[in-house]
Symmetry: C2
Subunit: 251 residues, 2 copies
Amino acid sequence: MSRGELARQQSTHLVLAELKAACANCNLREICLPAGLSNEELDQLDNLVNVRRKVKRGEALYRAGEVFDAIYAVRSGFFKSRVTYEDGRDQVTGFSMGGEILGMDGIGQGIHNCDAIALEDSEVCSIPYARLEELAREVSGLQRHFHKMMSREIVRESGVMMLLGVMRAEERIAAFLLNISQRLNARGYSPLEFHLRMTREELGSYLGLKLETVSRAFSKFHNDGLIEVEQKFVRIIDIEGLKQVYAHHVN
Amino acid sequence: MSRGELARQQSTHLVLAELKAACANCNLREICLPAGLSNEELDQLDNLVNVRRKVKRGEALYRAGEVFDAIYAVRSGFFKSRVTYEDGRDQVTGFSMGGEILGMDGIGQGIHNCDAIALEDSEVCSIPYARLEELAREVSGLQRHFHKMMSREIVRESGVMMLLGVMRAEERIAAFLLNISQRLNARGYSPLEFHLRMTREELGSYLGLKLETVSRAFSKFHNDGLIEVEQKFVRIIDIEGLKQVYAHHVN
DNA sequence: TATGTGTTTTGATGTGGATCAAAGGCAACC
DNA sequence: GGTTGCCTTTGATCCACATCAAAACACATA
């Protein structure tokens, strides 16, 4: 495709402008990798983040075992991360939405440790890792924020360990709903009604529960007047009640 | 200080020399933060790592909520990391031995997220975080390896999620013993006999099990001829059998 | 509209590990 | 040597969630 053709295609929906300023124009910049950068620093990052990639629902952004060479910022859509065990058992280890970073698990070994699967048609910004390291050496704000994002991933995971290790089924699900609610809120979406993108089985896998248990908990919360559920659509009716669920345990 | 003086001091008690070359002389340098650095780079890191700290058994290296300003490399001893939940429930999120880094959970929020408690008299090297970030900007090998260590912490935690989410009690304990064995082996200790530093309760907390269940699993493994146990001392008799335990599940 | 496939709900039953309880072992200290 | 305070082991019982089963539902495609 010639440059002229490309430009014509892009003129209709702004792709070129976005390519030239991936982060500066992105409405996720406050919560994504560029958070806290000055305009000048933002420009430098923009030179790096110039490849977008669309991932259709059900497709993998990357798979465990593939060579790692980039991290990804979710621009739109929703992903699950999943590790598969030698014997075929697997577990969902996280869900990622806009502004969140995927792929940091690959840095340690140079090979991805999990699959990242789109749960709806999604788009990511690809960030070549070698160049990110270089740039982080020059732009201390970028370095600092990148470290923070890795650290927060560590903290997030220890939260999941807590959830898996000490909470009972209904607490886990209440905690999950509140977490999603809070993340949507931070992105300017309604914190009280949303579509879950994952199946009951995927959610159960993440929470260490069977799909039937997830379904029963949803039904229970519905009967208790805490939420409305209709398939994957959820409306939180009584958010305080939901918080009570996991404050109100035995012990 | 002349080379002669240095040698003389070292012959007596080594402390000053160690201070001046914390990492260069450390037998953990191959697995710790300085892994892969050149001699010259090592010198630069040594300027940073000049504070040792002893932590007695039962004492905290840091606690959740404290201001984060340094990460720590375990020089000797053994630590548990523990997060405490609002309602008082807590969970052990990891165990750390020589050459491993503690405190990276604090980077994200500038506040420690967990307690790090010594399970035996221990010593750590304190690494001021602000200066580490600076140095990482100059020494790319250090930057790279630091990122790897953070990434490996993420991968380690997703392994624990797997363990908590999909494994049954005996599998968890077999996996734990094999993990300890492998880490001791990497440090030049016997992989087949060792002292556990944690109580059954702490181990249970880490594995999402009650102390009685841990104890029963140890007894079972003993009866099956896989290990010998005497209090905290463990000898692995049949390492292949132990591997079978978690390969040999239902499904 | 029919048809197939995957998802969700709900009920009945089973079980792995928690809980409750008690006794024994070990180390520190007087 | 005896006391005290953990820690560990083992047995008996219980229960939260898994498992098994079946029906209802949603959604895509013909």
